[in-house]
Each structure stands twice: as structure tokens, then as C-alpha cells.
């Protein structure tokens, strides 16, 4: 359209770059996937080199909700509440197959995928996913963050 849109798209890219390399995660850890989450966050696989190393334990201060581990129906309202308390821009990562589809827990207690409750941006399947998968998912999330229209 003109010079104006060049500047806004460059600004979008700049903000996207800043947002993708400063991910403050809220690790909503429930189950076994939490062990692989810890392994990914620690020295061996180190998620800090992606800028995502500082978890914020308050939903108000976090931007990515990592839902790690099985969500039961008793926990679902809590998850929804935490998601609602997060401020925009926010993204959700479904970590582990229990959050993607319920995993092999097709029973009376388990939510069959958290996307029935909250919108999900990246799905990382695996039971539990290897840290390499987690980093792959994180990088896809970073691409997504960088590519979207930035609102501020």
C-alpha cells in the first residue's frame, strides 16, 4: 500500500522477534510429562538458550501456558481459570499426548484433549515427549509467534 505498511510490517517483525525470544512460560505441570519438562528445562537440554528459561508462576505475568501432563475433569475448571487469568498475548502449548487427545486414558476421569476447553497453539505429542520433541515444538511456537500480526 505504501511506505506506511512497510514500517508497520517491520515493526511487527521486530516485536515478533522480541516476543519469540522472551517466552515467560507458566508450567501447568500435573503428571509424568513434568519429569521431561524438568529435563528439558535443566542443564542437559537447556531451554534457556531459546529465551524460554524463566518460568513465571503467576498467570498474570506469563505469556505461554505449557499444559504439561494429564488434565482430569476435576482439574479442568482450574485450567480454564488459569487460562482466563492470563493476559494477551498468550499462547498455549499442549505438552504430551494426554493434553493433545487424552492419551491412552479413555476413562471417566480424563479430559480427552485440552482443546475441548481452551484453544491450543502447538501440540507436542509423546508419552512423554523426548526433550528434542519439546524443543522442536518450542521452535514451532516461536515461528508462530514471530509470524502472527502483533497487537500491542
Amino acid at each position: 500500500m505504501g511506505v506506511g505498511s512497510f514500517f508497520t510490517s517491520k515493526l511487527d517483525e521486530a516485536i515478533g522477534w522480541a516476543r519469540k525470544y522472551s517466552i515467560f512460560q507458566y508450567p501447568f505441570v500435573t503428571a509424568c510429562c513434568g519429569m521431561e519438562y524438568m529435563a528439558t528445562a535443566c542443564s542437559h537440554y537447556d531451554v534457556d538458550r531459546f529465551g524460554a528459561g524463566l518460568p513465571r508462576f503467576s498467570p498474570r505475568q506469563a505469556d505461554v501456558l505449557f499444559v504439561v501432563g494429564t488434565i482430569s475433569h476435576k482439574m479442568a475448571p482450574v485450567l480454564k481459570r488459569v487460562y482466563d487469568q492470563m493476559t494477551e498475548p498468550k499462547w498455549v502449548v499442549a505438552f504430551g499426548v494426554c493434553t493433545c487427545t487424552g492419551g491412552f486414558y479413555d476413562n471417566y476421569a480424563t479430559v480427552q484433549g485440552i482443546d475441548t476447553i481452551i484453544p491450543v497453539d502447538v501440540y507436542i505429542p509423546g508419552c512423554p515427549p523426548r526433550p528434542e520433541s519439546v524443543i522442536d515444538g518450542l521452535m514451532k511456537l516461536q515461528d508462530k509467534i514471530a509470524a502472527q500480526t502483533q497487537r500491542f
Binding site: 475433569h73 476435576k74 476413562n107 471417566y108 480427552q112 475441548t116
Partner: protein, 165 residues
């Protein structure tokens, strides 16, 4: 103490309240009458030679679909007892019918029975007479039904929020 001796002592003390005993697979088991249960448990805990100071586990089994026992008492509440001093074990069982699924509580003897009995109530619907606070332990209060019963289908979900799938 030898398991067979434990069963002998319990049977000698309680006579007909002990309905049957067995020692299959090395686990010495006694089935007792519900009315005598509190006394039997207290005796097992306090009697010097038995000294069952630990209630290892308290659970229940639903015999609704068990071949050969569909017409008998539906629930069997199982107590696993252990003695640290004597290093011996005992399993006690109580059979109750579906329409009269009440068992006297063991909370006064072992404090852990509080939560274990709550779990049995939650999963099977067996009430415990005298329990101070019998509410669900693992499921949420809005859940209706007792999931570990054989007639509760494994994937009948009762979501609090979200779609009913």
C-alpha cells in the same frame, strides 16, 4: 508368628464370627462377620502376640461380575494388616450386600483408615459407620455414581466444563 498360627488364634478367639479362612499363595486370609469386625480389628492390633500395628491397605472388591458369585454379597471390604515387630501379615475380609453396604469404621484404631475409607466410599459406595467425615477423596463432589463398581462404564465422563464427550 506363622500365618497358620495367626489364623488359629483368631479363630479360637472369635469362633463363628470367622466365616472362612484360606492361605492360598501364602497370604493368610480370614473372612469375618461384619458385626464382629471392630472387635476382631482391635484384637489384632492390641493382642501382644499379634501386634498388627500397621493398617497397610483398606480396599474393596465388587463381585458383581465374578463367575460363581453374582448372587452372593456384592462387596468385599479387604483389610491388609502388618506387624512391624513380628513381621507377619494378615488379610481380613468382610462381605456386605449391595442394599446394606455399611461397614463399621476403623478410624479409631488406625488414623489412616480415615482416607482409605473415604476412597472406598468414593469408588464403591460402601459407607463406613462412625466415620467423622465421609466424603469423596479422588472424584469431585458433583460426580454421581461410584466409578469402580462393575456396572459403571469405564468411559462415561461427567465433565464439569467443556463438551459432554
Amino acid at each position: 508368628m506363622d500365618g497358620a498360627r495367626i489364623l488359629e488364634l483368631v479363630q479360637a478367639r472369635f469362633g463363628r464370627a470367622v466365616v472362612e479362612t484360606h492361605a492360598r499363595h501364602g497370604d493368610h486370609t480370614a473372612v469375618v462377620d461384619r458385626a464382629a469386625l471392630p472387635e476382631v480389628l482391635r484384637h489384632c492390633r492390641d493382642e501382644p502376640g499379634l501386634a498388627f500395628d500397621v493398617l497397610m491397605d483398606l480396599t474393596a472388591v465388587d463381585y458383581l461380575k465374578y463367575p460363581g458369585r453374582e448372587d452372593g454379597p456384592r462387596f468385599e471390604v479387604v483389610y491388609h494388616l502388618y506387624s512391624i515387630a513380628e513381621n507377619h501379615r494378615l488379610r481380613l475380609k468382610v462381605r456386605v450386600d449391595e442394599d446394606d453396604a455399611v461397614v463399621p469404621t476403623a478410624v479409631g484404631l488406625w488414623p489412616i483408615a480415615n482416607w482409605l475409607e473415604r476412597e472406598v466410599w468414593d469408588m464403591f459406595g460402601v459407607r463406613f459407620d462412625g466415620h467423622p467425615d465421609l466424603r469423596r477423596l479422588l472424584m469431585y463432589e458433583e460426580f454421581s455414581g461410584h466409578p469402580l463398581r462393575k456396572d459403571y462404564p469405564v468411559s462415561r465422563r461427567q465433565p464439569l466444563i467443556g463438551p459432554r464427550i
